[in-house]
Symmetry: C2
Subunit: 278 residues, 2 copies
């Protein structure tokens, strides 16, 4: 009998959603009005998986909401409303939840996405499931599928060590950058880096049916190159364009489908993935 | 130190959302276009809380999605899109998830609400968090706040024993009825019965600042009167109107704020509530 851990998160999602509407970007983009598309996304935040007992309530609230906001940033979309399902054990300190909700209000004032509903239910560990609803001008959402051979590969900030440095709990979602990049009209593909540069770039290569070469000396990094490539949870934007932008050029798109090179040498996958190898 | 179990689910939600946009209906209703409002809701379904190991994957998928569809029915709204966050232990049988997703597809064909995204993450028990997006003609959503003294109280089906009979896993969400009742223009308040008639009717009384008297002999019930009043998870619609409808009249709205009588005698609250009394 096949178990989820035998497949890993990405294969399991791919298999489950094979018959459903094609899902493969940071958010689902759907028709809404004559001028705008509807943009939807959801992210879970689970105790002992996405945060530990050391995280403060404010950090937990920050990461739960900002992971979703980063998904909107990755499409160049504007988040509007959030719903939050909270799961908690009966012994959960109520003050922790109060502080988490106070953080939601701070984030609403900063980023404009308001918590308008949700639910509270009992379960074995603390979890926050954040659902986001937003919009983007019709037909302009930035997808993973538009990268072209010859495009340059850009990243909006330093990569690696996000767990060690605590950045994964305090990062700034690149909403302004995402919207500005979309409005430029020159970005061919975009996503946010949650699973690590090497893994996430492969999503663009697959969706765009192209390859890529990374230049290690150009990758802005906090720790080692290995950490920059594989750590994940940086929540920086990764995008491609044939135009010049004031961000580090970390590589270029090639015409060899799904081939990923680092300084001319093929690199392997070993990013963090839920379930896999446990 | 106050814990959630000291407050109970409803009090905890009320306290947490006090500073956020007023939330008190089955769905949040928000401005979208000149002709339609956006309707949003989310519901968790958690192993050992909302279903047990005896439930089939099809029943788990059914309850997860139909709880959300019932929220749309309660507003007279049309569901359009769903996102599903799945939480599962690494040892989760993958086939169970495949069957749950196959059920989503069946429900999409029946009720028109399509799963367009979501996430899969690791956690101690199986959970499905379903988030729904839909719409309703502008300003027409049926709320809990419009009941008027003299209105009759209606219910769309039999109440009680939903756990015992298994109805909680197989119920039909009253979407058609909900939309038809909204279109009639004669319904003053509506909600779905998830926590039990006595508890849920109190939400209408509070939101509408009215009272009610129930007539026990008119309540359509599966088991005992006590089960019809307190069991919950019937997912029938409870609505008020001064007009005549072809549904059982189970009581009338009075002008004594928040007073709930059964055959002339005040009744007490003892519905199922998460956390409380555990």
């Amino acid at each position: 009998m096949k178990m989820i851990k035998d497949l890993g998160e990405h294969n399991a999602i791919a298999a489950l959603t094979a018959n459903l509407k094609a899902v493969g970007d940071d958010c689902a983009v759907l028709p809404m009005t004559a001028t705008h598309d509807l943009v939807l996304t959801s992210d879970p935040l689970i105790e002992n998986i996405h945060f530990t007992a050391e995280a403060t309530p404010e950090q937990i609230g920050h990461k739960a909401v900002c992971r979703v906001l980063s998904d909107f940033a990755a499409m160049g979309a504007e988040p509007q409303y959030l719903l939050v399902n909270v799961v908690a054990p009966p012994e959960q300190k109520f003050q922790t939840l109060e502080k988490i909700y106070a953080k939601f209000e701070v984030l609403w004032k900063t980023y404009g996405a308001e918590v308008v509903g949700g639910d509270l239910a009992q379960g074995p560990v603390l979890e926050l499931h954040v659902f986001g609803v937003g919009r983007v001008p019709k037909g302009t959402a930035l997808l993973r599928s538009g990268a072209k051979p010859g495009d340059q590969i850009y990243v909006t900030g330093s990569l690696g060590s996000a767990q060690k440095s605590g950045k994964h709990l305090t990062f700034t979602p690149r909403l302004e950058e995402g919207m500005w990049l979309r409005e430029s009209g020159f970005v061919t593909s975009m996503m946010d880096i949650s699973d690590g540069l090497a893994t996430d770039l492969r999503h663009i290569l697959k969706a765009s049916m192209v390859g890529a070469e990374l230049f290690s000396e150009n990758v802005p990094m906090v720790g080692s190159l290995e950490e920059a490539l594989y750590d994940g949870e940086d929540f920086e934007l990764l995008f491609t364009s044939s135009e010049t932008f004031d961000y580090p050029v970390i590589g270029k798109i090639t015409d060899c489908p799904q081939e990923l090179l680092l300084d001319g040498i093929p690199i392997t996958d070993k990013a963090f993935e839920h379930f896999k190898g446990e």
